[in-house]
């Protein structure tokens, strides 16, 4: 338990120490909301709402607000967790070699991810409410923001443990997150109703955000699809971590003094 608490405390601190990403989020979110809001008209936009199996006619201006939050969170949280995982991989390896239980370490990382993303998605929601006062169900919108943060936090962790090049990781996070969210939104992509888009990581969070913004629905099924992306990313990430931290076969430790 002591190891788990120490690992959680220091994993949490590690994320908070990334002042650049946090500063970027704090400043970037209101600026982006303001800018996108200023250039998007109030025209009605048809959105394929999967939980009801129908098209909703939603205000394009509001749709842009709600999905901008998803976009920014995917990008910055992905970057944040990639950066920390990549930077501390050797250190984390040293800790597990020292005897920090791999499972305890992984659970601590997941807890830190869950708490940090919950807070940052709440901040993004609060800024959204300054610009758009009347989303239908604020709690569901927050859940959708948290969901996209968990998905991209997991994706960032995976890349951080997989890639040796920091630059490659940054580019992949930027390209992948932007393409993923962009394709789901009919303002950016008029063909956003295509079936294959269900298989994209942001699908669940986008559907859930629209449910929260414009309906009484919670889009639970779609959220679970999104959640499974987070689980898959995290599973792969920690499998890579486990493989990278195990003792090499040529070393045999006979006994511990």
């Amino acid at each position: 338990m002591k190891q788990f608490l120490a690992a959680t405390k220091f994993s949490f601190k590690e994320q908070l120490a990334n002042r650049f990403a946090l500063g970027l989020l704090v400043l970037f979110v209101p600026i982006v909301y303001w800018m996108y809001g200023a250039v998007t008209p109030n025209d009605a936009v048809p959105f394929r709402f999967q939980p009801a199996g129908t098209f909703l006619s939603v205000n394009g201006h509001d749709l842009m607000y709600i999905t901008t939050g998803l976009n920014v969170l995917a990008l910055i949280i992905g970057f944040m967790f990639f950066h920390s995982a990549h930077k501390s991989l050797e250190f984390d390896k040293r800790l597990t070699r020292a005897g920090l239980g791999c499972l305890r370490f992984i659970l601590a990382k997941i807890l830190a991810l869950a708490v940090v993303t919950a807070i940052l998605s709440l901040y993004t929601l609060l800024i959204l409410l300054i610009f758009w006062h009347s989303p239908h169900n604020i709690f569901v919108v927050w859940l959708s923001y948290w969901l996209i943060s968990l998905v991209y936090g997991g994706f960032g962790l995976l890349l951080g443990m997989l890639l040796d090049s920091e630059l490659a990781g940054f580019f992949i996070v930027i390209m992948f997150s932007q393409m993923d969210v962009f394709l789901q939104i009919p303002i950016d992509n008029p063909a956003a109703n295509k079936t294959f888009l269900k298989f994209f990581p942001s699908y669940g969070a986008v559907q859930m955000s629209i449910a929260g913004g414009f309906t009484n629905n919670w889009a639970i099924k779609e959220a679970l699809i999104g959640g499974s992306w987070a689980i898959v990313f995290l599973l792969i990430a920690f499998m890579i971590f486990y493989l990278r931290t195990r003792y090499r076969s040529s070393l045999k430790i006979i006994a511990n003094n």
């Binding site: 930077k87 020292a98 040529s250």
Partner: protein, 201 residues
């Protein structure tokens, strides 16, 4: 008592055969040095002995705990020195980190205990790197260029610590491309062309 034994260790990077059948045994209470030119395979050998890298052939056996000090400091920039010690105390399941505290004094960097690692100088980072390798007072110490970046005063203090550890029965292996004080070692081996050869101390 023999605490480390490596037999027929071979390692190649593509066609570059770095280690061509290394045999090495280190006993308790001794200090062994391995010297060699840049790129001769010293760090590769140490990584294999520490279990960081797999050999292509051969085996390494260690009796007891290992303390591995890598050449580049492996620390976390976002944590303070004190937090590093607490984290590793927890990882090693130690009841305290008194020995690490003793090293903070010996290596004269206690004054930075509350500084985050990103704000430390290269030499102080190296002191922390070394302290993390020794915090649990391991039976076998594998030190890769441990005094790189130390000033003269710290260099002398480092040897004081090493002597203390040797007297306490630890098996110590230091690798370096330069060995100034050969008399400090019980044995010096030269790694050349993939083989270890004894040199006179």
């Amino acid at each position: 008592m023999r605490l480390l034994k490596a037999e027929q260790v071979r390692k190649s990077y593509r066609r570059n055969h770095v280690l061509k059948g290394i045999n090495l045994a280190i006993t308790a209470g001794t200090l062994t040095g391995i010297v060699g030119e840049n790129g001769s395979g010293k760090s590769t050998l140490l990584k294999i002995l520490a279990g960081e890298l797999a050999a292509d052939h051969g085996s390494a056996k260690v009796a007891g705990t290992i303390g591995y000090c890598p050449q580049e400091p492996v620390i976390n920039d976002s944590l303070t020195i004190g937090e590093h010690l607490a984290y590793f105390q927890s990882a090693y399941r130690l009841s305290d980190h008194k020995y690490a505290d003793h090293l903070l004094d010996e290596l004269n960097f206690r004054k930075f205990a509350n500084e985050r690692a990103e704000h430390l100088s290269g030499g102080t980072k190296q002191k922390l790197n070394l302290t993390l390798a020794l915090i649990h007072q391991p039976a076998v110490l594998l030190l890769d260029e441990p005094y790189l970046g130390f000033d003269w005063e710290t260099y002398l203090r480092f040897w004081g610590i090493v002597n203390e550890l040797r007297q306490n029965g630890k098996a110590i292996l230091v690798i370096s491309h330069l060995v100034f004080d050969q008399k400090k070692f019980d044995r010096i081996l030269k790694l050349h062309d993939g083989h270890l050869k004894e040199t006179e101390v």
